[in-house]
Symmetry: C2
Subunit: 250 residues, 2 copies
């Protein structure tokens, strides 16, 4: 029997998330899993790495580790410290809710996949727009199919996949580009019991720019969205346009 | 006398950083500043937003606010809550050390500028490769020149500038692309006084791929590097290449 591929599974909702359990349960059939996840919810953790304190990785069940850090920490620690063998695939999720458009810059789920990519390991982030039992089961089943394809074919260099599974019945799969949200983050300003002001970030219904071929459009149409992301943020057109600033500012 | 432009100044090293003081001191001559910075060092905070707890913005001196959150929180809170007027420019820094290549994905300094861009405000992140008094003064002087140009000409849509000021004597200005580090993050594994294993992320000397026109190459040659970054992470070439997966996975 050929050796089963090793897969690192992580998330940003924490080790107790039903999304993580659904994902790990499904991927068991694809390979040897190691689950390394944060001890608590780290949503909106972005791509943050813990440098100012030591980290623990505690094995709470065979090959299930809990880390007192971010999703990025989990992947780094897994690959560089905890695991005896380099994983052949990193899968992050299933996030309880969408990771679409510019919002991915905040996403811990996506960041874990970014870290896998930086370490040279093919990586996938997967999110369920509707995190119901049905939504998670649909996403988990798709994760299996996608993992098999990625393990067989690999991914383009320095590129990860950001996958979003729609809320309703699935009507196909679309390879998409990152959408764009009209920014409307809300801040709640309130008074504490001592009469001092505090702020809470959140609320506000997101609205989206209607652009063709985006992740947002795909899930709206009931399709599973696969967006290939890379780590080169250079705006090459802008670099060309700003070339004249070199002399202007010299 | 025409109204002076309003500028939001922030950083990720915290309100007491000499980099922030150097930057604010220099930008005073360009406009009306509001300084809104984290209460402590938030390096490697990535683009993280605090959603799980309330935040405070305490005015510790006229128009200097300290926030118990991340650089991203500071910009969001500043624009949406604290400031009476929408700033015309966000400047983040001066970071004590470089923000080059893929490392920008972890950078709190860059993330603050990303947040400004998401809010539709021109934004600049500025870092001093050598955070000496001389290095900070050089970076601060350049921040003034650059701020004047950005305020006059604006920036391409959805694009921020990531600026790195070299360690040695400055030999010009280069508009660059994001470089690529050979990944060699180290993990230190140790035993605590009770005999339990812990890990600490860090250490390791970065090595860089020798690519032309990058931020890394520019600062190595003694040039100030300006990299225009955008928020669209889509790898369009990969999206084209993976189009066949739509039927494969349907």
């Amino acid at each position: 029997m050929p050796k089963r591929p090793t897969i690192l599974v992580t998330n940003d909702d924490g080790i107790h998330s039903p999304g993580l359990k659904a994902l790990a349960g499904a991927l068991e059939e694809v390979g040897e899993l190691s689950v390394i996840a944060p001890d608590r919810e780290r949503s909106a953790a972005g791509h943050s790495l813990t440098l100012h304190k030591p980290l623990r990785a505690t094995e709470i069940a065979p090959r299930w580790y809990v880390v007192d850090g971010t999703p990025t920490d989990c992947v780094t620690l897994g690959v560089m410290g905890v695991l005896k063998e380099r994983p052949r695939l990193v899968v992050s999720g299933i996030n309880l809710g969408a990771n679409l458009g510019d919002d991915i810059t905040y996403s811990g789920t996506v960041s874990a996949a970014v870290e896998g990519t930086l370490l040279g390991i093919p990586a996938v982030a997967i999110s369920a727009v509707e995190p119901s039992e049905h939504g998670l089961a649909t996403a988990a089943a798709f994760a299996v199919r996608l993992a098999l394809v990625v393990l067989e074919r690999g991914l383009p260099r320095d590129t990860l996949l950001n996958v979003n599974v729609p809320a309703r019945e699935v009507r196909g799969v679309a390879v998409t580009r990152q959408g764009k949200r009209s920014y409307n983050e809300l801040i709640v300003e309130k008074m504490d019991p001592r009469g001092k002001t505090y702020y809470w970030i959140g609320g506000g219904e997101p609205t989206w720019e209607l652009l063709g071929g985006t992740d947002y459009e795909a899930v709206t149409e009931g399709k599973i969205s696969i967006t290939p992301l890379h780590l080169d943020l250079t705006n090459y057109a802008a670099a060309e346009a700003l070339k004249g600033w070199e002399t202007l500012l010299a």
